[in-house]
Symmetry: C2
Subunit: 115 residues, 2 copies
DNA sequence: TCACTATATTCCTTGCCAAGAATATTCACA
DNA sequence: TGTGAATATTCTTGGCAAGGAATATAGTGA
């Protein structure tokens, strides 16, 4: 998890990962489209590979880098316990709304008085 | 997104975030349970606060730190496009399984031959 | 106002990491 | 086998970020 976060914490690496959503890409294409120098791209890709975020497939003298599902899936699982953070908040909001409706009904029944 | 990843990339900060799943905690409790010195905890909490991952609520001379939903929700949204990575993989696996079953049926029909 | 508790801040040092520049490696093809 | 294209590696430097120690600040109660 730390490895994943560390890898994604670097701006250019994050850009590379997002670019790879389009599918496997050779180093040159990444370098060109993201305006990064080739050596830095290679280095970032090594880090991403080290974290298991990408894998390589050699094609002629090119190397095609491709996203790997596992870390993203792990991230999803890691995130699960935190889901209740905003779920709870929405529940609370629902409760408030229910309360308001209840209040509204009472006031309507008794004839609405000041505010 | 970068801010979130950067904040979570530091091991002790990640531990703090995970500890805060139990609900709001004062600095002292975090320091004690995670065996971290108080100043470092305060410093990490500032970083987490800067990234919007936590918020503070003063209670007497304590400060209660609490997780904030927004960044986690954002992370969930960011992750969405990558979901197809493993979804696609499962589809592929399904295809393989279907293929195998098909094969199995043929072999059964013709009388199974070597292997 | 004083003393005590809880937390924040500052200063310093050290280690790591990203970029740049130069060079090495790998591979296809003539 | 030599040449050019694509990519990887090495070395160096600058900056930033984390930990430690010391100190400052806020808030409470007597």
């Amino acid at each position: 998890m730390i490895a994943t976060f560390t890898a994604l914490a670097e701006p250019n690496r994050l850009r590379i990962v997002e670019f790879l959503q389009r599918g496997a890409q050779p180093v040159g294409a990444i370098s060109e489209r993201l305006h990064l120098r080739q050596p830095q791209v290679s280095k970032h890709l090594q880090v991403l590979k080290g974290a298991g975020l990408v894998d390589v497939r050699p094609v002629a003298q090119q190397r095609l880098y491709e996203l790997q599902p596992a870390p993203f899936h792990d991230l999803q699982l890691w995130l699960e316990p935190y889901r209740q953070l905003w779920a709870a908040r929405f529940d609370a909001l629902d409760a408030v709304i229910a309360e308001l409706k209840q209040q509204e009904r009472k006031e309507t029944r008794h004839g609405r008085k000041k505010k």
